[in-house]
């Protein structure tokens, strides 16, 4: 058995050491940096300043806007995605026995496989105020052109639209898998009892979908807290601060202004927020079952 132990440790050690370097080291280092005024462009400027970075952050208007925007973006995107995903998933379930429907489904989910940079780029071309095909179509329909990403009133909505376009297929796939796992007899029994569609959704489909949906939401919350690529190629947080999000904010502080002390404090707060939301959602899932991630 001692030999087994050696083999086991040999197999596990590289992964564990690697992950320690990837998680514990950055965490401790970030925590340390967040209490200093370190700036990479001013090497002489050092010094421990306690929690000053944090108190400066929470009183900073731009950082607050970034948090607000991140929350609005996450909540709005996920809600719209859930609604779209539910209807599309039901549609694909209804035609699941038609030959070729899996090909249609694969084409439908293509947006979620795309490089986020690419989806940001192709939408900024489509939504471009003068050259974009979107405004051209609006004009053809006799509508006034829409400013999309170019105005601070509409930029966040446009980013949400891009986000929803890319990620609805993800929740759709999860719901599809959930719906397909419902035994046919349950539907037949419901039909026998004369249940209407709403009752079927409420009493048969919802219970089956609950966990898949919650797990999907956790993934989407984590994704939205990290959202960077789309913003980076479409608006860089603008116009003004209309689409400023937390990752963009921290990125700019760190690699734009080299304010690594202050930027690290922002990063620590982002980590904290993401963890709190995940924990709360996890609680929800564990409420019913103990076996999910």
């Amino acid at each position: 058995m001692a030999a087994n132990r050696r083999i086991r440790n040999l197999f596990l050690a590289p992964a564990i050491i690697y992950l320690l370097f990837m998680s514990i080291y950055p965490l401790i280092y970030s925590l340390y940096l967040s209490t200093t005024r370190k700036n990479l462009s001013r090497p002489y400027q050092k010094g421990f300043i306690g929690f000053d970075n944090y108190s400066n952050l929470i009183t900073n208007d731009l950082f607050r806007t970034a948090i607000e925007n991140t929350i609005v973006l996450a909540v709005a995107s996920i809600l719209i995605e859930l609604i779209i995903a539910f209807f599309i998933a039901r549609l694909f379930v209804a035609i699941s026995d038609v030959p070729g429907s899996s090909i249609i489904r694969t084409v439908f989910i293509l947006p979620m496989m795309l490089t986020p940079v690419v989806s940001g780029l192709l939408w900024s071309y489509i939504l471009s105020p003068s050259l974009g095909i979107a405004n051209h179509i609006l004009r053809e329909l006799g509508q006034a052109p829409y400013p999309w990403l170019a105005s601070s009133d509409t930029a966040l909505k446009s980013v949400i639209m891009i986000n929803v376009w890319q990620w609805s297929p993800f929740l759709m796939l999860l719901m599809l898998a959930g719906l397909m796992s419902i035994p046919r007899e349950q539907y037949e029994a419901a039909a026998m009892d004369g249940a209407n569609i709403l009752q079927v959704v409420r009493h048969i489909e919802m219970p089956f979908l609950r966990n898949v949906v919650l797990i999907g939401i956790i993934f989407r919350v984590i994704d939205n807290f990290r959202l960077f690529d789309i913003i980076y190629v479409t608006t860089r947080g603008g116009p003004g601060s209309a689409t400023e999000v937390v990752t963009m904010y921290a990125y700019r502080e760190m690699f734009g202004f080299f304010n690594v002390g202050y930027g690290s404090a922002a990063a620590v707060l982002i980590l904290l927020m993401a963890n709190i939301v995940t924990l709360v959602l996890n609680r929800f899932i564990r409420g019913e079952e103990g076996n999910v991630r």
């Binding site: 596990l12 965490l27 549609l91 038609v98 496989m113 780029l121 993800f170 966990n211």
Partner: protein, 274 residues
């Protein structure tokens, strides 16, 4: 009754088709734009189908940006290999060996995935600079491997647990060593699952932007970073952007069609009651 059902289904298929085409219209539009000349890009009203199959945009990108494409390919392949090399033995150990606090270890491994890349950015950037790997493919790979390990280990463990444990015992009785059991039995039997792990790792590496932006500057710059440069401050080169976008996503589209079964399995794993 039967005819009505068929009609209803036919209508639903048409609806699904229309929605699907609408959903990928942005992709079709971009694909078309990649063949446009600068003049056609600025034509109003916009042209859907370019007059000729103009390949100049693609030639321009392959001329100037081949090196970055090579970086992306090398980093994707290297990182995926590295992830499998480290994750598979770890997953195997978590599957076959008993140990105290195994649940806690597994939870810790998965929890390291919660770390947003931006939260680790500065320490990783400084660390990579310190060991002289800034702006090298090795540096990017090192970090990409780390970001993919948690999910890869978790996924591989889930797949290996589905194998019957008696096979391993039988092999041991027959005189196989543990490494042999891993290489000759566990890996071949879970090849489908490990493909899923490889696909998801490769997708992450191919698509990644944030880490690549601050880990590279010129030598090891990946193609995703190059793409962001087509939308500069003043002059937006839409035709090059479109061609670049197509180059970036063609491998993904092919992969998606070839491996759709694995992708669905990987995404829904654990989320759906078996």
């Amino acid at each position: 009754m039967y005819a009505r059902k068929r009609l209803k289904k036919a209508v639903l298929v048409v609806v699904a088709l229309v929605l699907t085409i609408l959903n990928i219209t942005p992709l079709i539009w971009t694909f078309m734009s990649g063949f446009k000349t600068r003049l056609e890009i600025f034509t109003i009203p916009p042209v859907w189908i370019p007059k000729s199959l103009n390949l100049a945009n693609y030639e321009a990108i392959f001329d100037k940006r081949l090196h970055n494409l090579e970086n992306s390919v090398a980093i994707t392949v290297g990182s995926t290999a590295g992830v499998l090399l480290i994750a598979v033995p770890a997953a195997f150990a978590l599957t076959v060996f008993a140990m105290k606090n195994k649940k806690h270890l597994e939870f810790w491994i998965l929890s390291t995935r919660m770390m947003p890349p931006i939260a680790a950015a500065i320490p990783l950037y400084l660390g990579i600079k310190e060991i002289g790997l800034y702006d090298t493919r090795w540096g990017v790979m090192l970090i990409y491997i780390g970001f993919n390990l948690p999910f890869a280990i978790w996924m591989a463990t889930t797949f290996m647990r589905q194998l019957p444990g008696e096979i391993f015992e039988a092999a041991l009785v027959d005189g196989c060593s543990w490494p042999q059991v891993l290489l000759r039995i566990a890996v071949p039997l879970s090849v489908g699952g490990l493909s899923t792990v490889a696909i998801f790792t490769a997708l992450f590496c191919w698509n990644e932007l944030l880490l690549a932006v601050f880990l590279t500057s010129s030598n090891a710059k990946t193609f995703t970073v190059v793409l962001t440069e087509f939308v500069g401050q003043t002059n937006i080169v839409w035709e090059l952007m479109a061609a670049g976008a197509v180059i970036q996503i063609v491998p993904i589209v092919i992969l998606t069609f070839l491996t759709q079964r694995y992708i669905v399995a990987g995404l829904t794993m654990g989320a759906v009651k078996q």
